[in-house]
Each structure stands twice: as structure tokens, then as C-alpha cells.
């Protein structure tokens, strides 16, 4: 077999693919450093000559920005005054500079981590029971998937009604349940495919050697499909990280997420605050990039698991 060579046209192709894939990210990062008058300029400003970190300050540290501006003009009982500190409801300044995006960032972290854990645990058990014990017959997997066969908005309103009745709206546990419920079909089906590709004789051999069913699945099946579980986990995590609809309708003030916070950056005179949105979006991809970097080995393995069939 002749050795593979990295030719110049491979290089060009790879470069073009990289540009295609990374351009939106680079544009987003570039925009996050632009002042407001360069956000939609024609011709476009590729890299700002007047770069600013104000968009990041608005997102992460608005009180510093307020201080820099000398506060916002407010007219309260004592007449005109400059308000430069965050005082919360009852004396706060405007929406945008009133609060940072930290609540939304922490909200996304908590909901995504626990929502993903719930989905993977339930999905794994469902996948094993379906793949190994044909639980519920042939139709069960389709019943599970049916939850994704219609638009999420169709189940959103019933969710609001039910969640309101049990006091689960605007709570982390309520949102975690919702996130878990809507992603379980994905995790079940993905994990089922990995388990299907694993010869069940391996588990049977372990059980013949004295392991219980639980022991065989936890100590034999799970380690063998580890790559698949990690790939599924990352996929579900990304779904939860970018989820908008349920966070919008089931949360009010106590819980917020990055996608919802992104859509709130609006002002009457400047419209959508594109630079601020770009700054928060840039901040929001950092955890995923870091996690992706550390698990890339398992990810590749997981995604190719079962590529060569028995």
C-alpha cells in the first residue's frame, strides 16, 4: 500500500473547508470587539481599528462600564441623578446595564450538566432494556421517538400548564426535568445503536462467570461503549446548551439561560445589540471548546464506533 501523502490540493481543500467552517466563528469574535457603529457597516469592517471591550463588559461586568460612563441618567424622587451601581429592583438602572449575564451563564451550566446527566442515565437504561431485553416489543423505540416527531411548541404549552400546577416553572429542577424529557429520545436511540453493535455474547460470558445483570452492564457493557456514551453526552450537552424554547416559556426571573439572555439584548435606539450578542456568544462557546478538546480522543472513537460491523 503506497504511503499517504499530504498533497498541495489536499491543503487547499482543507483550508477552504476550514474557512467555510470557521468563518462564522471568526466573524462573531471580530464583531464582539467592534463598537456599535461598525456592527453592520457597509462595506463590512473585518477587523475593527477602533476595537473595544465594552461589549464584554456589558455582558460580564456591567457595573464597571457604568462607572466608566459616569452612570446612567435617572430621574427619581430627588430629581436628576447619576446611578452607577447595581442596586437590583427598587432603584436599578436600565435592563441592559442593570445585570450581567452571569445568571444566564450559570443557569446554562447547571441546566445543561444536570439535564444531560438525567438524559444519559435514563437513555442508557432505556437503550439497554430495549437492545438486550426487547422491553416493550418492537414498537417501544418508536414510541420514545414520537416525542420528537412534532414541533416542540406543540408540547410547550401543556408543559407550562403542568409545570404551573406542580410549581415547577422558574425552577432549576423543573427545567432539568424538561431538558431531560425532550432529549431522552436522542440519547436512547444513539446509545441503543452503540449497544446493538456490541456482541451480547460478551455480557453473557460475564454473567456465566457469575456477574449479575447490573454488574455485567455496568462493568462490561458501559466501558466498551464508553466512546459512544461520551459522544452522546456531548451531543446532548450541546442540545441543552443551545435550547431556547423551553427556557423561554418555563422560566421567568429566577432561572435564565444564555440563548434567552442573547435575545434580550435590544435597545430602542440601536436595535439588536449585535456586538453584545457576539460577545456573549463568544463567551458561551468557550466551555464547549474546552470540553471538546479534552474528550476529542473519545469523541472520534465514539463517532466511529460500530463503523465496521460484525
Amino acid at each position: 500500500m503506497p504511503p499517504k501523502r499530504f498533497t498541495w490540493y489536499n491543503g487547499i481543500g482543507l483550508t477552504l473547508a476550514l474557512i467555510f467552517a470557521l468563518f462564522p466563528v471568526l466573524w462573531m469574535i471580530s464583531t464582539s470587539f467592534k463598537p456599535s457603529n461598525e456592527w453592520v457597516r457597509q462595506p463590512p469592517v473585518w477587523v475593527s481599528g477602533d476595537a473595544t471591550v465594552e461589549n464584554y463588559l456589558t455582558v460580564l461586568w456591567p457595573s464597571a462600564l457604568l462607572e466608566k460612563r459616569g452612570g446612567l441618567t435617572q430621574y427619581t424622587e430627588g430629581g436628576e441623578q447619576k446611578v452607577a451601581e447595581q442596586t437590583g429592583v427598587g432603584g436599578a438602572v436600565g435592563d441592559i446595564l442593570n445585570k450581567s449575564a452571569w445568571q444566564a451563564i450559570w443557569g446554562s451550566v447547571i441546566l445543561s450538566v444536570f439535564g444531560t446527566a438525567l438524559s444519559i442515565i435514563v437513555g442508557l437504561m432505556a437503550a439497554i432494556s430495549i437492545a438486550r431485553y426487547r422491553f416493550g416489543g418492537n414498537t417501544t423505540p418508536f414510541f420514545i421517538l414520537s416525542g420528537r416527531m412534532f414541533p416542540p411548541i406543540a408540547i410547550a404549552i401543556p408543559f407550562v400548564v403542568m409545570f404551573s400546577d406542580v410549581g415547577a416553572t422558574d425552577t432549576y429542577w423543573g427545567l432539568i426535568l424538561a431538558y431531560g424529557a425532550v432529549t431522552v429520545p436522542f440519547s436512547t436511540w444513539m446509545l441503543k445503536s452503540f449497544i446493538d453493535d456490541l456482541p451480547k455474547e460478551i455480557e453473557e460470558a460475564a454473567m456465566m462467570d457469575g456477574m449479575s445483570r447490573w454488574g455485567a452492564h455496568l462493568r462490561i457493557t458501559l466501558p466498551l461503549i464508553k466512546g459512544g456514551v461520551i459522544a452522546t453526552t456531548l451531543f446532548i450537552f450541546i442540545l441543552n446548551w443551545s435550547e431556547f424554547l423551553f427556557a423561554l416559556i418555563l422560566a421567568y426571573t429566577k432561572v435564565s439561560t444564555i440563548p434567552v439572555q442573547l435575545s434580550k439584548y435590544f435597545s430602542a435606539t440601536e436595535g439588536l445589540l449585535i456586538g453584545v450578542q457576539a460577545a456573549l456568544a463568544t463567551v458561551s462557546i468557550v466551555p464547549l471548546v474546552i470540553v471538546g478538546f479534552f474528550i476529542q480522543k473519545h469523541l472520534v472513537r465514539g463517532l466511529t464506533l460500530g463503523a465496521i460491523k460484525r
Binding site: V40, T73, D95, N98, V160, E270, L272
Partner: protein, 537 residues
């Protein structure tokens, strides 16, 4: 008959009439007696009510809430409700970016009434959906909602918005009388649906035209009137052509041609020809000769506009063209004027003032009109604005209403509107005619004077059930005409067909009732030109 007999008989009659067992427990009331008694009580109550209403001394007022101003009545009413209120916090769903108009005053409201206020921010594009969600879920999580007036009919029909007419009568927000009232027709079409109150304005959004008066002077031209750049649309088209200097990156006209935003230009220009969206039989007038001519004029004007108008939304025009000194005139909301006057934050290059602080580069103007029968008709569009709406599922609807009345009262609104971190704009008469210094600072020059005149000539969007569908039909066909995918005639014929289909699907009679109700809230010259007086439900 002896005195004792008479006395006995009177006692007996009293027993019979009022069923009062004064001296005997065995007396039985017949059905006839009961009917007589009830009829007597009813008649007495009716008489008392009639006398109270007709009293020249304003006895009726004594039954309403006490207080000399809308704010005082709201405070007194809320204080009285607080002790027995099921909830002690008024939750308000508001569009993102508007919190700065309310949050500085929540502490004050709490000190005055006991009620706390919770602000629940939702993305500005999601207010209608969130309110409709509440109509279905009926959670009562919000006591007040702030949707656009366009949403009122749908929210009323869906049972999300409470009919607040009784509260308005009881507490009197002074929106239709007195020196701080709202102008007709704005006070009608943005707060009422089928003659009943469903909202209270907290924001006014009538359009105006900002233009470069310095550039006009350079060319030796003068505005038609102090508050009018030009009189008619024909004049506007001609002036746009004259001022256009594409070679130097300066454009004669800045109008939206992008999806969603563009239809407002058609609405204002078309209706100034004396024809409204529908006729008295609910037939769409989009395919009328006036409408087709409007679109032809608008397409012709594109020659003097930058190509980005096909993609720019409402603020991109401000930021990239008008405030950058690259356009002669632009239509827009009050925020256009505020933005173009902001040299520091917005870095506007047209914010020049004289030594008295009066703008010298840019000037506000009324919207042009059309000569119809020797008279210039104007149809100044009011896209958006925001209303306080009481949630029908709220546990404390009256307290919620009272907060809305308090914040939108003449004095409170004067304080809340100028705050940074919010975007409510003026709507009451005192905002325009007696602005406080800080209020005036936000709207310098003659802007408030211009806007006050615009208020009296304002026309609504299609504020009735199915509004979004009608708007979408207009929007997408106008887009096709602007992009030359359809001729103006074809585009507007298609628009009319789609609008008529929407009407049919939603029920013609029901739609007609809503439309005629809206049409009767148009400025009188437009009603007269369209013959609205003869329209019957």
C-alpha cells in the same frame, strides 16, 4: 276604624311587605308579598342610582376613588386593596430594554401602597407569544403584560387581556379629558377594542420625518412650513431627487425596503390618498388604483436610496446613514430623533446645535400628505407603541391596573420616560406641551411640537384579529414589487386576494365588525374621504 285597628293594619302591611316578624313568629309571607317586596327594593335601588347619577353636585364622583390626580387615585385605591390582596407583588411581563422606565420607581410604589413590583423581562419579539401562552395556560404568573397595541384584539379574543373599562370608569386615568389627556385618534385605537378598554398606553410611537435642514439651506431651499419639510408626497419625491448626490455617497431618501419594516411606508403613503385598508364591506383596498399608484411611486423613489435599504432594519438606517450624514431624510420613530441628536453615544455627525442648544443640522418634520379635493390629507402611521394590559388570570387585577394607571399618569410618565435604560416615548398632551427640563433634554428642538401635531393625524396599523396575517400578506408582496419580481399592480392584486382570503377564513362578519370599529377611530378627514360614516356593521 279605630286608632288601634289602623295601627294593627299598618303593622300587618309592614309584615307583608318586608317579611319582618315584628311581633309574631307565625306570620307567613305569600309569594305575592315576596314579589311585591322585591319589586319595592329594586325600584328603590333604581331610583337612588338614577338620582345619584343625575345629581348636579357630582354625587356620582363620590362613588369613584378619591384623589385629585390619576396617580393619587391609583395610590389610594391600591392602599385600600393591599390588606386583603391575595398577592402582595405585582408581576409585570415587559419587553427587554424597557425596564429602565419602571425599575427606578418600584421602591416608591411599594412605600406608597405596600405592593412590591416584580419585573419579568422577555425578549422584545416574544411579548405576543408569551401573552398568548398565558391565554392558554392561565397561570396568573403575570399580573400586567406589556404587549404592542397590535396584540390587543387577539389577546382580548383569546381571553388573555382583561376588559378594564370598569376600572377606567372608577379610577379615571384622565386619558380622554383634561389638560393631560391623550389626543384623538391615538387614545382610541391603541387602547380599545370594540369600544372597550383593554390597555393603557405606556409608550407612543407615531412616525415623523427627520431631514437635513442645513443641506436644504445650502441649496437655497426652505421647508414648506416650520413643521413640515414638504406638503405632499409629490413634493417629497421631487426634493429627494434634487438632494440626491450618489457620487458623494449622499442619498436623497432613506426608506425601509427590508422585510417587516417596509410596509409602514405603504400604510402611511397609501392611506393619505383617502382610501383605507378595507372598504365598508371588508373588501381589501390593496388593489385599488390609489394603492397601486403608491407602490409605483415607492419603487420609483428607490433610485435615490442606497441598496442596503433592502436589508437594513430600523436602527441600521439610523446608525449607518442618517446619523452618519449620508442621507437627506429619514422616516422613523421618536428614537430616530434621539439617536440623531446623540453626538456622544451614537456618534451622530448631524447633532450640531447652536449656542442655545437648538439643532441646526437636522430638523423634525411632519409626514407628507396627498391633495384630495383641494385638501392635504395626512395619514401618519403609528407602528408599535406599548400598552399595559391586565392579565385576565391575575389574582390581583385591580391592583395591577392601578399600578399601570399610576405609572402612566401625567406626572409619573413625565418622570419615567426620560430615563436611560428604557425606551418609552411621549403620548400624553402634557409631554408635548409642558415638558419638564429633563424631558425636553431627551427630545431637543421642535421635536415635541411636531410630534404633538402628528398625534392628531395618526392612523393605526391593522389592529384587529388576524393582524399579523394581513401584515405579512402586505409585506411579502411589497417586497416582491420592490425587488421587481412582480409589477406593482400584480403585487397589490395578490395582496388583496390574500387579505380577502384571510377575512373569509376568520369570518367576514366578525372581521367587518372589528374593522368598522377601528375605522371609526381614524382622523376625521380620513374618515370623511373614505366615507366611513355610511359604513354599517
Amino acid at each position: 276604624m279605630s286608632f288601634d285597628d289602623k295601627k294593627q293594619r299598618i303593622y300587618k302591611d309592614l309584615h307583608r311587605l318586608w317579611s319582618m316578624h315584628l311581633d309574631t313568629k307565625n306570620y307567613k309571607v305569600s309569594r305575592r308579598d315576596l314579589m311585591k317586596g322585591m319589586a319595592g327594593i329594586g325600584l328603590s335601588a333604581g331610583m337612588i342610582k338614577y338620582l345619584m347619577q343625575g345629581s348636579p353636585l357630582g354625587v356620582r364622583k363620590a362613588w369613584a376613588a378619591e384623589g385629585g390626580t390619576p396617580e393619587e387615585r391609583a395610590i389610594n385605591g391600591a392602599k385600600a386593596l393591599f390588606a386583603n390582596a391575595k398577592k402582595k407583588t405585582i408581576s409585570i411581563m415587559h419587553p427587554s430594554g424597557s425596564g429602565g422606565n419602571m425599575s427606578p420607581f418600584t421602591k416608591e410604589w411599594k412605600e406608597l401602597t405596600g405592593f412590591d413590583v416584580e419585573l419579568i423581562e422577555v425578549p422584545v419579539t416574544q411579548t405576543h407569544q408569551k401573552a398568548m401562552q398565558e391565554a392558554v395556560a392561565k397561570t396568573g404568573r403575570y399580573d400586567l403584560m406589556i404587549p404592542a397595541p397590535l396584540s390587543l384584539p387577539e389577546l382580548a379574543e383569546a381571553g388573555a387581556a382583561l376588559d378594564i373599562s370598569d376600572y377606567v370608569a372608577k379610577y379615571d386615568p384622565e386619558d380622554s379629558h383634561g389638560e393631560n389627556q391623550l389626543e384623538f385618534p391615538v387614545r382610541e385605537f391603541g387602547q380599545k377594542y370594540k369600544g372597550r378598554y383593554y390597555g393603557l398606553y405606556c409608550d407612543g410611537d407615531v412616525w415623523h420625518l427627520s431631514y437635513r435642514i442645513d443641506k436644504m439651506k445650502e441649496k437655497g431651499k426652505a421647508p414648506f412650513a416650520p413643521r413640515l419639510m414638504v406638503d405632499t408626497w409629490d413634493d417629497y419625491d421631487k426634493l429627494s431627487a434634487e438632494m440626491n448626490d450618489k457620487a458623494n455617497n449622499f442619498y436623497g431618501a432613506l426608506e425601509y425596503r427590508s422585510p417587516f419594516w417596509n410596509k409602514f411606508h405603504w400604510m402611511t403613503r397609501f392611506q393619505s390618498k383617502g382610501v383605507l385598508y378595507f372598504d365598508g364591506e371588508m373588501k381589501s383596498m390593496a388593489a385599488s388604483p390609489e394603492s397601486i399608484k403608491t407602490v409605483e411611486e415607492m419603487v420609483a423613489l428607490q433610485e435615490f436610496m442606497p441598496t442596503e435599504q433592502f436589508t437594513y432594519g430600523f436602527t441600521e438606517n439610523y446608525a449607518q446613514y442618517y446619523a452618519q450624514g449620508r442621507g437627506f431624510s429619514e422616516f422613523g420613530w421618536p428614537s430616530l430623533w434621539r439617536y440623531s441628536m446623540d453626538a456622544k453615544g451614537a456618534k451622530s455627525v448631524v447633532a450640531g446645535r447652536d449656542d442655545k442648544g437648538f439643532p441646526i443640522q437636522s430638523a423634525p418634520s411632519g409626514i407628507p400628505g396627498t391633495k384630495v379635493g383641494g385638501e392635504t390629507l395626512r395619514a401618519v402611521i403609528m407602528p408599535f407603541a406599548w400598552d399595559f394590559v391586565v392579565n385576565k388570570s391575575s389574582e390581583i387585577p385591580e391592583a395591577a391596573y392601578l399600578y399601570a394607571q399610576w405609572l402612566t399618569g401625567p406626572t409619573m410618565s413625565m418622570r419615567s420616560i426620560p430615563n436611560e435604560g428604557g425606551y418609552f416615548d411621549p403620548w400624553r398632551r402634557n409631554h408635548f406641551l409642558k415638558p419638564s427640563p429633563e424631558f425636553f433634554a431627551g427630545y431637543p428642538g421642535d421635536y415635541l411640537g411636531v410630534q404633538f401635531e402628528e398625534m392628531t393625524q395618526a392612523v393605526p396599523e391593522i389592529i384587529m384579529p388576524g393582524a399579523a396575517e394581513y401584515h405579512d400578506a402586505i409585506d411579502k408582496n411589497l417586497q416582491a414589487a420592490y425587488n421587481k419580481q412582480k409589477t406593482p399592480e400584480q403585487a397589490m392584486k395578490d395582496t388583496a386576494k390574500e387579505m380577502d382570503r384571510i377575512t373569509k377564513r376568520r369570518g367576514k362578519d366578525k372581521q367587518k365588525e372589528a374593522w368598522i370599529g377601528l375605522a371609526k377611530q381614524y382622523p376625521e378627514p380620513l374618515q370623511k374621504a373614505a366615507g366611513v360614516a355610511s359604513w354599517k356593521v
